[in-house]
Subunit: 489 residues, 4 copies
């Protein structure tokens, strides 16, 4: 759910470099780190190591350590991709947990009499200390700098990217994740309603970070902040200029099925006091560096609570969600030639529909029985009979995809989670699969991801706990009757 936002560290050097310069200037001997070769060749890497050692030794006390961190941070920002990768490797390799001391401590621990709880506790305490890698203390220092927390979040975004190909960095990435997950504890987040009166700089970030349905202009954004819309974001008090995650809601009457209708600015806006349904039509994570630290579930629940309070007449809370993996799953099925994917009747209906069709490509696809090519071209969309013939098999297969297709189970004997990531997210939250919407998203993205279908996940307040338990425990997916009959057909 995440886009390329950050202007890269180079852009930020201008801002942060300046902010941190004054702090960095307070410590002597840090001059060596000022004009490094951006590739960070070995002679410069040595300087970085010296700087890290000084910082760890806390020479000159806490305030000097902060100055050193500022110097190191500015050095990091001045490097290019290769240089930063090297910097991170140094941190990962040379400032890791000391394996020998860990083994020593493990040995000592095993020597203790298993009933001497006090001694065991002492040894465990020591083990905890020994396990903590020195780089953790270094990372913490950055948090004392202005906007240092955003620096660390962005550093993790880079680390995640690099660690995909470089396993040596994974330990460092995990350390950073542990740190950030403590600091971004859900208790610290502030739910903010974002409106057309919010700072333009913040709204600009919403435009950039929106990951589900692109916001193409300020006018479009204004429409999404109209009287019958709501946009809520989680914000961290120490990073107030950045959304962490945000959700967009339309207040409507009845379950909305088409995203184009929801986003159509020419629709007259509803008096929100009269709405009975809240449609969550987009939810986007804004910080790549916080991947794996989950806010979405809590955000949805908090917004449901807030809306229930403001609009007592709203009694239905539902998403209007994409089905990002349907088409690629279907294509795999078709390529692998799964038997009986289409019923006889469905095939027949398709062949009949082609008779009236003028398009040669379409005709040829069906004559060859190439269902994949037929669905893959968007040609069927302009032909009423063809679309009508495609609807039954596609909705049926889509319901099967959402509800029944699973990943391999993580633990033996347990059910695997559903394949579709958006479905998995909402099912884990306790929602149920409510309705499939044929042609719910006619955009080219919608057609290529899910043959134009969208789905509603319904959050029923008194079912959420039960649904969550059933899905987490036995892998059971809650569905409406309509969906259930689709999956059984």
């Amino acid at each position: 759910m995440n886009k390329e936002v950050s202007p890269g560290f180079f852009g930020r050097l201008k801002t942060w470099g300046t902010m941190w310069r004054d702090i960095a200037d307070k410590v002597s001997g840090a001059d060596g780190l000022v004009s490094l070769n951006p590739d960070l060749p070995e002679e410069d890497a040595r300087k970085i190591r010296a700087g890290l050692d000084d910082c760890l030794a806390a020479r000159g006390g806490e305030v000097s350590a902060r100055a050193r961190a500022a110097t190191l941070g500015r050095a990091y920002l001045s490097l290019n991709d290769q240089g930063r990768a090297r910097f991170l490797e140094i941190l990962a390799r040379d400032y890791a947990t000391d394996h020998d001391r860990v083994r020593e401590t493990a040995g000592a621990l095993l020597d203790i009499d298993g009933t001497d709880f006090a001694a065991l506790q002492g040894a465990e305490e020591q083990m905890r200390d020994v396990l903590e890698p020195p780089r953790l203390r270094l990372l913490r220092q950055f948090n004392a700098l202005p906007r240092g927390i955003k620096f660390l979040v962005d550093m993790r975004a880079e680390l995640l990217e690099l660690a995909r190909h470089n396993p040596d960095l994974r330990g460092l990435e995990r350390d950073l994740r542990g740190l950030l997950s403590g600091w971004f504890d859900i208790g610290f987040l502030e739910l903010q309603r974002i409106t057309w009166n919010s700072p333009a700089a913040f709204l600009e970030k919403i435009i950039t970070y929106e990951a589900v349905h692109e916001i193409r202009s300020w006018d479009e954004l204004k429409d999404r902040l109209d009287h019958d819309r709501r946009l809520y974001a989680f914000v961290h008090p120490n990073m107030p200029e950045e959304p962490l995650i945000f959700v967009q809601v339309a207040l409507v009457n009845g379950l909305a099925g088409s995203i184009q209708e929801v986003l159509d600015s020419s629709t007259p806006s509803l008096d929100p006091e009269q709405a009975d349904t809240a449609i969550f039509y987009s939810i986007s994570n804004a910080q790549a560096g916080l991947a794996g630290i989950s806010f979405g579930n809590f955000l949805i629940k908090q917004v449901v609570e807030r809306l229930s309070h403001s609009f007592p007449k709203v009694n239905t809370f539902s998403t209007l969600s994409p089905i990002p993996g349907f088409r690629s799953w279907l294509d795999r099925r078709l390529t692998e030639g799964e038997a009986g994917l289409l019923t006889q009747q469905e095939r027949k209906a398709l062949t009949q529909a082609t008779a009236a069709d003028s398009d040669s490509e379409t005709r040829s696809a069906i004559s060859k029985g190439d269902f994949k090519a037929l669905v893959g071209s968007s040609e069927w969309l302009r032909s009423e009979p063809l679309a009508t013939a495609l609807k039954p098999p596609l909705t049926r297969l889509c319901a099967r995809y959402i509800v029944n297709e699973r990943r391999p189970p993580r633990h033996e004997g347990r059910a695997g989670s559903v394949l579709d990531p958006v479905a998995h997210f909402h099912l884990t939250n306790g929602a149920r699969v409510e309705r499939l919407n044929w042609l719910g998203d006619r955009s080219s993205k919608g057609l290529s991801q899910s043959a134009g279908m969208m789905v509603n996940y319904l959050y029923k307040l008194n079912e959420i706990e039960r649904n969550h338990e059933a899905y987490q425990g036995q892998g059971k997916v809650a569905t409406s009757t309509a969906i259930r009959s689709l999956t059984r057909s």
Copy 2:
């Protein structure tokens, strides 16, 4: 004037209990925890354990877990001292690290080939997981509640008290300290100037928490917030209604030596633009539950920076500090009868001063050579000749006490830290002992703690780093020439 602010948990039940009730109400089956016997007898303890287990099992998802935490929090608040001690013991004992699994993991770790770094790292990662006690996850849940962080801070204050006599609670206390020390990372604190325009509720807390020179009325507080005074506090964004630590500064001309003069409201206030000296005359920690998480050094440095910026003419930053341990140290010396504590000349001067003295008690003390009794009574204060005769030996001994008297070293071969806690704090920060002030504090507290003396610790910006290093490393105390000559006399 109201000094009774912090009404203890019972008082807070009213506020928090209400706040949390709505959250708690969202989970079913938590009713059992509503009306407990405040003593928490065994049958009720069982209910607590059941609640803790449910919360850990995260039954019903994250939001239910939060509701359960609210229920448990309310239960805790409804208990009396004994009940709360029991609650904490349950947490400490039944939700601790599993020693057997730790030993198993240690065994597995030792079985790994010492050169297989990837395997070692994996095992270490597992060890980290195993070492984390389940109660830590329970504690984190409270942070998601409104004002939950203050709840945890106060819980630690209680724990610290209880753990003094109950070693079983120390592990839990350390866990909580680890959690809080991450959340109260210096990078998250906000430096706030507190003025007469600050909320009365906040100022009331300043009155309550002031620990050095009592604030006896709102009028006195207003004096301390006058044009030529500054009061700065660190505040945490998630606990904005509470100071964490605060420092009081007087802007004056020349080094102030008498706290009574500094606090005298009849002194006309100075145009702060004309001041050349900033006197830090009081620094108080406000949260007992954050003991051991140090903010003082950073606070002083930040305030120095802020003041330098606002008042370019101020070139001297100094404290006016109490010497809390002097008299009790001196009394021990006198009781033990250290030889040569007073010089011949000093004794002679004292005897002569008594000739003119009318007070029989004083005369008898000196005739008996009972220096301890003489200093202990405050009688000498009203006699000019006696005070004059006492000044040389007392200042000399006080300088020795501050600079030379040490605790036993923690690590062999290293110098011990100085005995006086206030001196140790400022020396660690990099200050130097600048001047002793005879009769700097004529209050009864001042007389009984330090025979009425006060001391200035000077923060010289370009010396701080060096002083800190010398004290931390070799235990060397930085002093002015005057102090140096006193310690040598």
Copy 3:
């Protein structure tokens, strides 16, 4: 309803003088106004006139005019009572409307043909210009200075005082009133709820300005801001640090009759959600300089609206009010010896009550029939039988005083307004006289003003308009049945 608050202009010179100095410094030639003799003798008065002339001539443009106003303002603040009186006399006499030009213009106007509307309008326009005294432009200049509006408000407070003995100042006072009444238009006022989280500096002013029931300490203030209390103030956006008027409300069950009970801090505070009645127990004007510009009616109505919204269960809005003029009116009646003031039965009851009484003074008063002396001493309060005998005649007379006693009518043929100023205020607002409370105020002030009685004025939303009309039009006072029967007895 107003107390002596302002620390006088001398106090403010320190603050404002400094603020305005930088502005004043921008204009040359203003030095002459810096060190005036505080008495403002004639040679200094000449300098003031020169400064006023320069300011009026707007020499150097608008910004220079502002600088000159700052200079004149500082000069004014540096004067003593006598000097300021002279300054104001200069403004009043030498910068007044030019009578001759008015007469000229009146002549020209009468020369115009009465049907030539355009010409008439032109002449009227000119008359408006001619009538505007030059001092008005001078006064407006002060508003452009920081806190200039408070300067003008306080200047009017002084003017009102001086104008009582000096009719020459009345025109100037009226000009200033006109100016302020435009600027303090009700549309500009902001209704603020004042709480224990409000700035201490603001709360200190509430303590000072409270005019009905003195607030004797910060503890008492805190009680008045408790959960079941509300304090609302009107504030002007350009004078945000000053309340203009404020009202104190207690949320209770049933009509409160005793102010001592309302203010008793030992009473457990009510859950305000459960209250059915809002008692307005104190309303105080805070700015002497805004006398005659009325905010009270609007404040009460706004607060009623706000409370109705926050507390849907509250259905009764009533005051608990003093009856400031009752005793002095009664004493006049008694002194003048109005026949039949007490009924036979009442006299008899009093005589009987004295039989049991031990106090000689009381006995003698009654034996002499000296009702005035009896009520005047507070001795009757300690005697149950005496108090019981006094209650019927005193309540009866008090009801008569509130409802029937009138000032002479302003316009012939119209009813005069009621004598009691508090009653007049609430009746004009549309309230009705609801209940008399025997011993509602046992304080010495309460006893001396109204023999310890208080009264409830009830604001019944659907009667307000009608009551207001009836009182304004025919002088009819709305009363409850109980009050009505008292006035008829």
Copy 4:
């Protein structure tokens, strides 16, 4: 991007109508005003009159009067152009000053003995009352409504438009102007720096209201809020969502001469700390309804003060201004055939420049001596030699236009103000004409207004007062030596 912001009254009915409905509902009998014919035919006009009468009679007290005002306001908003014109005519005609009473009072005034000051004052006071038209009280009522002040500002904008053709409305317009000019007194305005962090809704208004150099997109706006730019606005505390006037400043090195360079977003932005010059390149009034109430002078002076304080290195404050009237003045001169407008030498240079020119139109224009056609086509811009030949006569004539061309004097014997309105504004403020910039504005607007020239008006702090006096008094225009020599050539 949305340029349609101010939706006119109809749009606002939606917002305000709703806001005011609740207030309006509080008064009975106002129902008649709810569904009027938008043309306001006579039978509906009668209802309006009845409503106005009720409001004036203040039947039911102040709060009812406010409800009636809300009803009347909603009625006004529901009318179309014609209906609103009729509404305003009713106010203007039927609620005007009573001419007969004015004449009566004038007569009475003349009967008074001219030395009886007290009597004269009394009569004048009465004249003031009589002169105040009843509609003024009605207008004031609207201010008590939420956003009522903006309602009145917009009503005046409509009035100004209508009064151009309907003299009967001028008195009402003047009344409203008087009211607004008191409420928008300079002392009440707040100077706000507008940044990219300001509310988008506010920034959208900046885009709409910018009157000098159009802002074509949000990106362009962001450029104008970059580090080396400043945008300041005056805002009224009771209309905080609306700018009243705003100015845009570029911080640069040296006097900027080309607006295209100033606005070019590709220019790297300067470190503002290093700038020595502040260029005021645009100043726009935002409220048509406040025409004639002047804020510009004060705004510039305040911004100069603010910038001087923030950027001590900036020592030059200058505008880069358009010369809106130059070309139309020149065309008049040319049409009238003023003798000697071009010198012999200038004509010769132009003829020579044409030799090399390829464009037939241009050649023909010059051969005919048609200077007007030559300048009017923008063809000369693409020819280097032609532009070179045009520069001397055009700059010379432009300097003459700015400095010497005048309007007829308002008062005999006095100098008239300069013809160019922008020049008049800055000269009145005390600036001097500093430099003419050839091709300073190459936009088509710039070419058609001023043949592409722009001018710098310099604000020299120590000259402002003197320049203002000289211009206001003797009509003397302050100029640089360069400009002076141009006007003399």
